[in-house]
């Protein structure tokens, strides 16, 4: 079968290698007019935004926790992680509930995105490696780029995003901005 997706391979093997002949399905979502794709097998459900309970003294990209049928699930603002300007959450704001693998075990996490777009199937050969970007702090969470309907889709490796860590903290962004400003001077 052509359309089977091997979970082990998708999660553990190096994505860049071309040996994978299988095709994979991606769910895409929009953020600041860009389209991002994530492995559909990691998506547990898609929900509308509802007010989360904020946690004290956590990095700003952690928007709080919600009740997902009895378990407490943290919500992460992906815009914040990517250093994109924040927007006000509306009824259209979407939360994608994902299963991510961390070194401490599996975690269920909701990511807040602008809108959910599409589902499409890609063969491994259609994915091209992400180009070296000049001043990105960390881009290893970008699994590759693909063209779908003549539009570029950025494929993300959600495990490498380290959504729950302190890394995409506001402070790092501040310093980055500061440095940029300095450089321009």
């Amino acid at each position: 079968m052509v359309n089977t997706v091997n979970i082990d391979q998708t999660s553990d093997d190096a994505y860049g290698e071309n040996k994978l002949q299988d095709t994979m399905q991606f769910l895409t979502f929009l953020m600041a007019q860009e389209e991002y794709g994530i492995d559909i097998l990691r998506v547990q459900e898609i929900r509308g935004w509802e007010t989360a309970t904020t946690l004290p003294n956590v990095p700003a990209h952690i928007k709080g926790v919600v009740n997902l049928r009895g378990t407490i699930v943290p919500l992460v603002d992906l815009r914040h992680c990517f250093g994109l300007p924040e927007v006000k959450y509306s009824a259209e704001t979407v939360v994608i509930v994902l299963l991510i693998k961390t070194d401490k075990g599996d975690r269920v996490v909701g990511i807040v995105v602008d809108a959910v777009s599409d589902v499409f199937t890609l063969a491994e050969s259609e994915v091209c490696a992400a180009p070296e970007l000049a001043d990105s702090v960390e881009i290893n969470f970008i699994r590759g780029l693909a063209t779908v309907n003549e539009k570029m889709v950025i494929l993300l490796d959600i495990d490498k995003l380290r959504l729950l860590d302190e890394i995409p903290d506001q402070m790092a962004c501040d310093i980055k901005n500061q440095l940029n400003a300095q450089r321009q001077e």
């Binding site: 309970t53 946690l55 004290p56 009740n67 009895g70 378990t71 407490i72 943290p74």
Partner: protein, 744 residues
Amino acid sequence: MDIDLEQFHRIFFEESLENLDSMETHLMDLQPGSEDAEFIDDIFRSAHSIKGGSATLGFTYISDFTHDLETLLDHVRMGARSISIADIDLLLQSVDCLRDIFSALVDGEEPKAEETCRLKGLFQCALSEDNGDVDAESDGIATQTDKVESNNVEAPNGKGWIIHFSPNIDILQSGNEPLRLFRELDELGELHVKAHLDELPQIHHCDAKECHMKWSLRLITDADKEVIDDIFEWVADDSAIEICSITEDKAVKPEQPDAEHIEDMRLMESSATSTNTSYSTQSRTKADVNPISLANNGTEAEIAKTVVSNKLQTATTPSQTQAEIISNKSKSDVSIRVSISKIDQLINMVGELVITQSMLSQISKDFSMADLQKLKKGLSELEHHTRQMQDRVMQIRMLPINYSFSRFPRTVRDLSKRLGKKINLLIKGEQTELDKTVMEKIGDPMVHLVRNAIDHGIEMPDQRLKLGKPEYGTITLNAYHLGGNVVIEISDDGAGLNKLKIIDKAISRGLIESTEDVSNEQIYAMIFEPGFSTVDTISDVSGRGVGMDVVRSNIQALNGHINVKSKEGEGSIFTIRLPLTLAIVDGQLLRVGGNTYILPLVSIVESMQVNKTMVNQVAGGGQVFHWRDEYIPIIHLSEAFGIHADYSSVTDGILIVVDCEHEKIGLLVDELLDQQQVVVKSLETNYRAVDGVSSATILGDGTVALILDILGIVKILHMKKAKIDTHITNLLGMHNRLDSNLMI
């Protein structure tokens, strides 16, 4: 018939560990010289269950070992041997050894053989002192072996048959049992059996449905060949049978049958057919619960989780009638034993709940305002039942603390013997109930405290006499309920804590600068600091200074507190306070700005609106509040959590006085809301621990509320103050690093 033996292994391991515990308890009660027949019987029964189970399930090395143990006990039982201290020691050692074997098996490891070999040698030594006669009686298997052996001694009278019996591999599946055939043959005369085990696979490759054995039988009898043919009639199609007269076949010499072979054979059969009738008829124990008899009762999995009601009848100690627990090292799938009466109550309650539910759905079918009263009544009934059910379910997790206490007689006995001290152990309140999880986690800290009391607390006997104290020191374990807590006290009448030594050590470690303004309580609390030990020499018992700090952190992890009172020369008391359960807490809901938080009700001392005159600003900027002759610091929750609060001045808010490690703290919030029981949910499942928040819960409207952790909040405030400085330096440091990176 498809039987997966693995599923019985776990039950067997658990039962065996339990049997070992009961053996240990009884061994502790045993006094040399005045052995109580009842105790010996109980110990014997436990040993026999282990032996029976292990033989049936193929753990021959365990059954061999227990056999020796049993033989010794049997000698005592028969009065052929009077039990000595050395015997009790040997038996205790073997209990330990078996426990190690079982815990290794539970963890899926290969148990070590050395200890068994060593102890086996000791048993042989001990047994060789006794008259061998008693040996033959020790149990069913031995009897059978011995009978065959004794037959062998007699000269064969010449007439008889040699039978080579090679059954097909699947003979057991046709419902035939070689043992039964042999027993029938045995009735005809003298039977010598030799099993050929050459083709027997390794025990872990063994399929219980297959028979890999062949037998050579030598039957000395006057019976005709037809009679023997009749016996083999049913299996003739499934096996190769060769029967020839003894005179015809001289080649096969009678060989000494080996007990092990017979046992092997038996285990093959009984496990294959799963009816261990042959076994249980021979077992002498009356109400013995043996894993296989359990297995017979149901082939469904998860037997371990169901109630074992038989256990109630066999209970040997009063505590065993209560719910039982096997504290099992492996984290996965720990089971809990629950008395049938508790389950029955639950089932009744579920029945009530179902009735209430159907009543409610009846009302909702064609609801009119006239039914409102009915609906309300139904709802209140529903609430009542739900609450009751919750209580009952919680009770299932509750176990008498005896499960934790019962290990201490042994610890005290062994350790005091080793250190040459004379110690009595007094246990009180052993029926105090405590949550199973809490109990498991409190075990190790308690062991540590008891060992400390033995090692450092109690003095040597001669020293005690010199001091005018009784020769025997006393260590008391006590447990009782106090409010929503369980209090465990571990006290000794020994030397007490050496205050001066602690102060010296504290000063040398820089924990305090001088003794001024330091209360006794604070001094004693220093023994819980990491790396703090006042013992000059490090022994293998204690003195490394790692223990007490681990004890404290373990207890704090359970939301508990520990404190110590001590008087030099008179002894010390360690008091552990623990919450009854970790799963549900009584909470006070409170509001700060738009956020709802929950404070565990047990930690609240008082809440009030404050009067401006009672609040003072202290130089550093912090506020204190005068409360019952005490000045307590005021903490703004909004400040600690970086959130907005509605109150503008202290007098607008509500001050909650909370207990925090024996100090009082005033927590300022906007408003108090409901009080309700909340179900504790971990934040760490999907995120991580957050300072100031112990866990979360889900409120009635489905939203998440955070449960506050006062200690954490205090820590945040301390850190925030320190952070203001470090934040700046950090930022600069990062700045510089990035700068230098850019240069490159």
